[in-house]
Subunit: 153 residues, 2 copies
DNA sequence: CCTTGACCTCAAGTGGACTTGAAGTGGCAC
DNA sequence: GTGCCACTTCAAGTCCACTTGAGGTCAAGG
């Protein structure tokens, strides 16, 4: 499988595949001339990486967990603590969502006069004092609609 | 209220206050010599900004909503759509949290052999095809424990 | 054989939200 | 009146996960 094929199968851009390889997150099984050749397992590996990212792990954290060899020791404590992080995040998001929904239909002249809105303000301020905010993958920019553009297929 | 006072009251670093002012998110009521003087309302304003950030709005979006004058038209449609975004995010996070919790106690030799884990993989991959991912404030770095360091108080 | 264009490398750029550093000003406690 | 240091400005740096561009190589189809 060449890089274009891997990109197509996984949905991950070729540039990202090179970047991941450089970071040690994936490996190519060899080269044909200059060109990387990937084994079929790279697809699963990429799914694993996407999973980690979705869960809020950084690439560096993922690199440690899914070590360079095969699939390695995914530290269960780490998973559990990440789950807790997510849980509290979910709580905050839920409050935020409900607050937003209310604000969207709230009849108060000014939002500042609405008790629900004020409650929301407190939630937000509370978040301020948690510098440990987990964070989600990233609101990526996506320059262009990712057109495959002339893959030799 | 000088900038140090505003920083202390709001919990927002002075550098950020300057940055926000430059961006037009807050305003100082005047100067004493070089020094900015803030009105008491800046605190509420900052809470409002924190609220917007928590809900996933960018500073630019917030700048538009909480316009330069007083407190302006917070577009209700926008709020509702942000609530929907949050809602779907909550759904993904919840799946992720549950998956992580399971993985943390899963008895399967390899996570790859666990059906729940595979389901999780699918969730993650699904997320891949949503470039519109909302995103949360930011996994800020927080250089030092933010010591007030000799505020004249 | 020769062109083509997909692949390669390496350096630099991007974006959002700030932070940091250098150099300068001036309010206020003494 | 004067020294200190909190404030000022402006430019540049940071972080993360990539993307983009320039300049180059080479496998394969015609």
């Amino acid at each position: 499988m060449d890089i274009a094929e891997a990109a197509k199968r996984s949905g991950v851009p070729a540039s990202t595949l090179r970047f991941y390889e450089e970071k040690g997150l994936i490996r190519s099984v060899g080269r044909q001339g200059l060109r990387r050749v990937f084994g079929p397992d790279v697809i699963e590996r990429l799914a694993l990486i996407a999973l980690g990212r979705s869960a809020g792990f950084s690439l560096d954290e993922i690199a440690v967990m899914y070590a360079p060899d095969g699939r390695p020791k995914i530290d269960r404590e780490r998973l559990a603590s990440k789950a807790e992080e997510l849980d509290s995040l979910i709580g905050r998001f839920t409050a935020m969502r409900d607050g937003l929904r209310h604000a969207a239909v709230c009849p108060a002249k000014s939002h500042l006069e609405c008790p629900s809105f004020k409650r929301l303000l407190r939630v937000a301020s509370a978040g301020l004092f948690e510098p440990k905010a987990p964070g989600v993958p990233a609101p990526r920019k996506m320059t262009a609609p990712r057109k495959p553009r002339g893959t030799k297929s």
